[in-house]
C-alpha cells in the first residue's frame, strides 16, 4: 500500500458498495476502497462486457457484472460514476434493485441537473447524497484509475434540502477516509464554482486546440512542433473524455454561458489594450495572476516545480 494513502480501517464503513461505471473515477474509488478496507464487498457494475472483463482481470472489485439491478442488490452505498447525461436513466433502471435505507451518491461534475434527474426515480426510503470529487486526469477507463487520485483533493457534497443527516455524514466519512477534504454547499453554488474552475477552462482548451487545427496559414505539424511555447498545456485537458464533457456542458448550460460571457468581456478589454498599446493594463493583469498561482501552490493543489515537474531526466 502506498505510504501516504492513510491507514486502512479495521472495520469497513459499508458492508457492500456498488460502483456503477468503472472508468477513471469509478475504478479509482474501487482501488481506494479496497486498499483502505472501506467496504466489506465491492461490486463493479458496467454496461460494457469489455470493462467488466477488464475489472475482473485487474481484480479491483469483488464482483463484477453488467446487470444493474442485480449489481445494486443489497448494497448499502451505490455510487453512480457515469456521464452526467445518463444519471437519470441509470437511476430509473436500477430502482428495482435498491435496498430500503441505502445511500445513493454520484461523482458528477454538475449537481443541480443530476439531482433533478435522479431524485424522482428514488424511493422515499433511499437517501440521495450527491457528491463531486474534484480530481481526475486526462485518461479514461478502468486502467487509468489509481487509489490516490483523490488524495488531498476536495470532494464537494451537495445534499438537497431535507436530506438525511446521517446519510450525509456517512458519505462525508467515506470521502475523508479516501483522503479527500470534504466541503458541503448548494448544488447551484457548486455549478457556478465549477463552471469557472473546471468547465470553462475545458471549453477554452478544447476551443483553442480546435482553432489551431483549422488554420489555413499554419500547418498542424507546426502547431505540434512549436507547442512547447504554451499551447501543449491546453491539449492535456482537451484530451479528456468527450462524452463526459459533452454532458457537462449540456447540463450546466446557464453557469457555463454566464462565465463564458464574463470571459469574453474581459478578453475584449485585453484585445483593446493590445490594439491601443496600453502596456500598463497588460502588465497589471499579468502581475495579478501570479498571486493566484502562488495561492494554489501553497494550498497544496499544485506542484511548485517548474513546468508542472514534467519529466526531464536530463535536467542539469
Amino acid at each position: 500500500m502506498p505510504e501516504r494513502l492513510g491507514p486502512s480501517l479495521s472495520k469497513p464503513l459499508f458492508e457492500r458498495i456498488a460502483l456503477i461505471g468503472l472508468g477513471l473515477i469509478g475504478s479509482s474509488i474501487a482501488r481506494a476502497a479496497r486498499h483502505l478496507n472501506l467496504a466489506g464487498t465491492i461490486v463493479a457494475v458496467d454496461r460494457s462486457e469489455e470493462v467488466v472483463a477488464r475489472v475482473r482481470e485487474l481484480r479491483i472489485a469483488d464482483e463484477a457484472t453488467t446487470d444493474l439491478v442485480a449489481g445494486v442488490k443489497d448494497a448499502d452505498l451505490v455510487i453512480l460514476c457515469v456521464p452526467v447525461g445518463v444519471c437519470g436513466a441509470v437511476a430509473e433502471a436500477m430502482r428495482p434493485g435498491l435496498k430500503p435505507g441505502c445511500i445513493v451518491s454520484d461523482v458528477g461534475s454538475v449537481k443541480a441537473s443530476v439531482i433533478a434527474q435522479v431524485q424522482p426515480h428514488l424511493p422515499q426510503d433511499v437517501h440521495f447524497v450527491p457528491a463531486h470529487p474534484v480530481a481526475g486526469t486526462e485518461h479514461s477507463g478502468p486502467d487509468a484509475g489509481f487509489a490516490t487520485l483523490f488524495h488531498n483533493r476536495w470532494c464537494i457534497l451537495t445534499p438537497p434540502d431535507g436530506a438525511d443527516e446521517q446519510a450525509i455524514e456517512r458519505v462525508r466519512v467515506f470521502w475523508s477516509a479516501i483522503g479527500s477534504n470534504v466541503e458541503i454547499m448548494s448544488a447551484q453554488h457548486h455549478d457556478l464554482v465549477l463552471a469557472i474552475t473546471s468547465h470553462v477552462p475545458h471549453l477554452i482548451a478544447y476551443n483553442i486546440v480546435g482553432t489551431a487545427a483549422d488554420l489555413e496559414t499554419v500547418t498542424q505539424s507546426e502547431v505540434i512542433k512549436f507547442s512547447a511555447g504554451g499551447f501543449r498545456d491546453f491539449t492535456r485537458i482537451a484530451a479528456s473524455d468527450p462524452t463526459m464533457w459533452r454532458d457537462i456542458f449540456l447540463h450546466n448550460k446557464e453557469a457555463v454561458l454566464e462565465m463564458l460571457g464574463r470571459l469574453n468581456e474581459d478578453i475584449a478589454l485585453l484585445a483593446r489594450a493590445i490594439r491601443w498599446g496600453e502596456g500598463d493594463k497588460l502588465f497589471d493583469l499579468f502581475t495579478r495572476t501570479r498571486a493566484i498561482r502562488r495561492g494554489i501552490i501553497s494550498s497544496g493543489q499544485e506542484t511548485p516545480e517548474p513546468d508542472f515537474g514534467r519529466r526531464r531526466e536530463d535536467k542539469a
Copy 2:
C-alpha cells in the same frame, strides 16, 4: 554533466560569447554553453547589479558586468536575451563595442518587430541572425535556468533577406550543439505560428485567471481550492514574466489580434451549440482535439504521463 545533454566539444564554436540579459533563457544558454564547451569565454551582461552578483555566485559565466559596451567587446557572438520591447535600445547602446564581423542574435518570441528594431543600429559588417528557442518555464531570473532547457525543443531562425549564409550556419550549429532542432522561416510566418502556439494561449490563460479572481459570486479561496478541475493548468503560464509578456503582445499585435478573432468566432459557435443543446457538435470537436495531443506526445514535445506527470509520490 547530465547524461542526455550530448558530448562537449573538443574545440569551442566561438572564442567569445556575450549574453545580454541573464534571466531564465540567458542563464540557461550560459549553463549549456559552459557544459558543452561552446565558447572559449562566456561574458554575462546585465543592467542589474544584483543579477550580475548572482551570476558570479552561480559561476555560470567567465566574466560578468553591467557595462554593455565593455561586455560585447571582442565577442564573436552576442545574444540579446532581453524583453522584446528593449531590443532596439540595447542594440543602439551596445553598437560602439561590437567587433567587426561579429554575429548578433537574440531569443525573442517575436521576430519581425525585433528585426525592425535592431537592424538599423547594427554596422554593415555585423551579421544579424534572429533566433527564437521555443522553450521556457514559468520561472524567471538567473536561478531558474538550466542547461537542458532547450534539449529536444525547436529553435527557429528568421534571417532577414540577404543575411550572411555563413553566419546563419554558425548560429544553426550553435543551437544544434545545445540540443535543439533548428528550423528556418520568415519572421512574418514565425510571428503567425507563435501567435497561436504561444502568444494567444498565454493571453487566454492570463485572462481566465484574471476573470476568476474578479468574480463576486465565487470567492478566490474557492477558485484556489477547486482548481484541480482544470483551472490550475492555466495558472502555470499565467505566472510567466509580466514584462516579457507585455512586450510580446505589444510587438506582435496584428498576429495576436487576428488569432484572437478566430478564437472568438469558434467560441461563439461552441456557446451556441451549448445553448441549443447540440451535443454532436461538442462531441465531434472534443474527439478531434485528442488527436492533436497524441501528435504532440509522439513528437516528443510532451510527456505521455497523466497530469503532465505532476509529482505524486503516493501514486498507487
